[in-house]
């Protein structure tokens, strides 16, 4: 077994998810089953293979250009106000579960 209940508790903490005891044991079972399946990747020798994080750095770019020139289309002039106007405050706040009209309101952060 790769993942123990202790690991699950630690990872849930990293991900800021609270799990009930029942959810934790289910998660141990599911993650182990998935990770066992994922293990088959170790059959492949990838020591000389470059990792690939994105498709768009390989395709859809001008092949005749080199280096950062290939991506010149993705850069633009620095427009101080941005490509579109900032949202008005009331629109930015309209979906907040708690706001006071000027700020998002959250529980106290610093205890004293």
């Amino acid at each position: 077994m790769k993942v123990t209940e202790k690991d699950v508790t630690y990872v849930a903490d990293l991900a800021n998810i609270e799990l009930s005891a029942g959810e934790r044991s289910g998660m141990v079972r599911d993650l182990n089953s998935i990770l066992d399946y994922i293990d088959r990747l170790n059959e492949l020798d990838t020591s000389s293979v470059e990792p690939m994080a994105q498709v768009s750095d390989r395709y859809g770019v001008d092949e005749s250009k080199r280096g950062s020139d290939r991506f010149s289309y993705a850069s633009r002039d620095d427009i101080p106000e941005g490509l579109r106007k900032s949202l008005p405050r009331e629109e930015a706040l309209q979906n907040a579960p708690d706001a006071d009209g000027t700020f998002f309101r959250v529980p106290k952060v610093i205890e004293r």
């Binding site: 699950v8 998810i17 990747l41 470059e50 205890e111």
Partner: protein, 478 residues
């Protein structure tokens, strides 16, 4: 006024242009059909009738003035609820966004509307597009219009079902591991995943940013070409959208397919493929041969590693993307919390469903100290190998033909307690997402139980024209 239902984009647009009907009447007819059938299907989460009728009225005024109508004029469309719509609730199928009203439109939605489309409403999906059956929706499952005890596929299950049940003429979906093509296959409609970068992701609620694609679900191949034509192209709001010219997809579908080389990869016909699906796909391949295509046997040797690679990369990216649901700016907040930390943890626990939590956990684990190299980095390297498989294949063939899914639509509840079995439903679709190549699923016959089977055609990067053309030739020959 009585007439046959207007089912395709051209039929709707032409009828409105010739003033044998109005956009308002077409919209009302579709709402009437939704009213009548959606209680047993469950395809829609939100309707936006006011917005739709206003848009339809605008189209009718253009038609009355005799102006030439844009390509999607008066066409009733459904939008998957992961695409932002200004002023219209957008939930991503999640309790965490149950009251979220976006302040802007996704680029794909804005381009559809600019081309005259009438947005009827937002369609059901697996929560944050994570699932293959639509059963992970926080709201309700969706029934397959072709067999109500079956799933419509996922995650764009509501979009596929809305089109299949004639509740919309076309729909937009998103595809991260097969979420357009697999439901299209299960519901017997056309689903197109464009090349990564072909269509802007701006306004798409992110699941896995390097894998997310926006694309159409339609009744015909030509309609898929028309929608792609509308939504494709560079968008300054998405820096990964490609700065390449958009071909005339609609004109290109008419080109002959004779002499095109089609690859058949033996790895896509291996163990696990249902016999009836195999027979239907093999018959379709014979048909393509009749049409003059040359069939070439190829190998995509790393295919068996696609699912594990996908579930590491997709979950790693998801764990990062979903960190934004913190209960502060727009997502659900738990009640009665005493501290900020408790607010984050309890809000996320109460508002995420089991599959979303599972994926966040797996992704966080794969990225965590001590496991990054063994899991995430390893998967990125295998992603290179999977992409090279396609590069090698496309040196020899113009397109690759496969089944879309190993089975036809399965029963509601059949796989919902076995995450791994559910993941394997995507076995023929995930590789294209990882490599960023385009793919289309089109109907190719039925099983004995009358369930639709899907044929998948994969193409070179930015060569949607060729796969659309092959799909069109096959569709027209049937």
């Amino acid at each position: 006024m009585t007439h046959a239902p207007l089912l395709t984009i051209d039929q709707v647009r032409t009828a409105i242009q010739q003033r044998t009907t109005t956009a308002l009447a077409v919209a009302e007819e579709h709402y009437a059909r939704i009213e009548k059938t959606d209680s047993e299907i469950g395809a829609f989460l939100t309707l936006c009738k006011e917005r739709a009728l206003e848009k339809a009225d605008h189209v009718d005024r253009m038609a009355a003035e005799g102006k030439p109508l844009p390509p999607l004029a008066g066409v009733p469309v459904a939008i998957k609820d992961v695409l932002s719509t200004r002023g219209v609730r957008t939930t991503a199928g999640s309790k965490s966004l149950v009251q979220y009203i976006p302040p802007y439109d996704a680029t794909a939605v804005a381009r559809m509307e600019a081309a005259g489309a009438v947005v009827l409403g937002k369609t059901n999906c697996d929560e944050f597009a994570m699932g293959s059956s639509n059963e992970n929706s926080a709201f309700h499952p969706v029934s397959n219009p072709r067999a109500l005890d079956r799933v419509p596929g996922g995650s764009s299950g509501g979009s596929a079902a809305a089109v299949a049940a004639d509740m919309a003429v076309a729909a937009l979906g998103s595809d991260t591991g097969g979420s357009i093509r697999q439901p299209a296959s299960f519901c017997g409609v056309v689903g197109l995943m464009p090349t990564y970068g072909r269509v802007s992701r701006y306004g798409l609620i992110a699941f896995a940013s390097s894998l997310d694609h926006v694309g159409p679900l339609t009744k015909t191949v030509k309609d898929a070409a028309t929608v792609l034509q509308t939504i494709a192209g560079r968008d300054p709001m998405d820096s990964t959208s490609a700065d390449l010219p958009v071909p005339d997809y609609v004109a290109d579908i008419e080109k002959p397919v004779r002499g095109l080389k089609l690859g058949i990869a033996k790895e896509y016909f291996a163990e696990g493929l249902n016999d009836e699906v195999r027979h239907a796909v093999e018959a379709a391949i014979d048909q393509l041969k009749e049409l003059g295509c040359e069939i070439v046997t190829i190998s995509l040797p790393h295919t068996p590693y696609a699912i594990p690679t996908y579930y590491l990369i997709a979950t790693a990216e998801a764990s990062s993307n979903l960190a934004r649901y913190d209960g502060v700016r727009y997502s659900y907040r738990a009640r009665g919390v005493k501290s900020l930390s408790e607010m984050y943890r309890r809000s996320r626990d109460e508002s995420f469903g089991p599959e979303v939590k599972r994926r966040i956990m797996l992704g966080t684990y794969a990225l965590s100290a001590g496991y990054y190299d063994a899991y995430y980095l390893k998967a990125q390297k295998v992603r290179t190998l999977l992409t090279r498989d396609f590069e090698n294949a496309f040196g020899k063939v113009d397109a690759i033909v496969t089944p879309t899914s190993p089975t036809a639509a399965f029963r509601l509840g059949e796989k919902s307690n076995d995450p791994l079995a559910m993941y394997l439903a995507d076995i023929y679709t995930v590789t294209a997402d990882l490599a960023g190549v385009p793919g289309i699923s089109i109907p190719c016959g039925e099983t004995r139980e009358k369930l639709p089977v899907g044929l998948q055609i994969l193409g070179r990067h930015f060569d949607e024209s060729t796969i659309l053309r092959i799909a069109y030739a096959y569709e027209q020959s049937g």
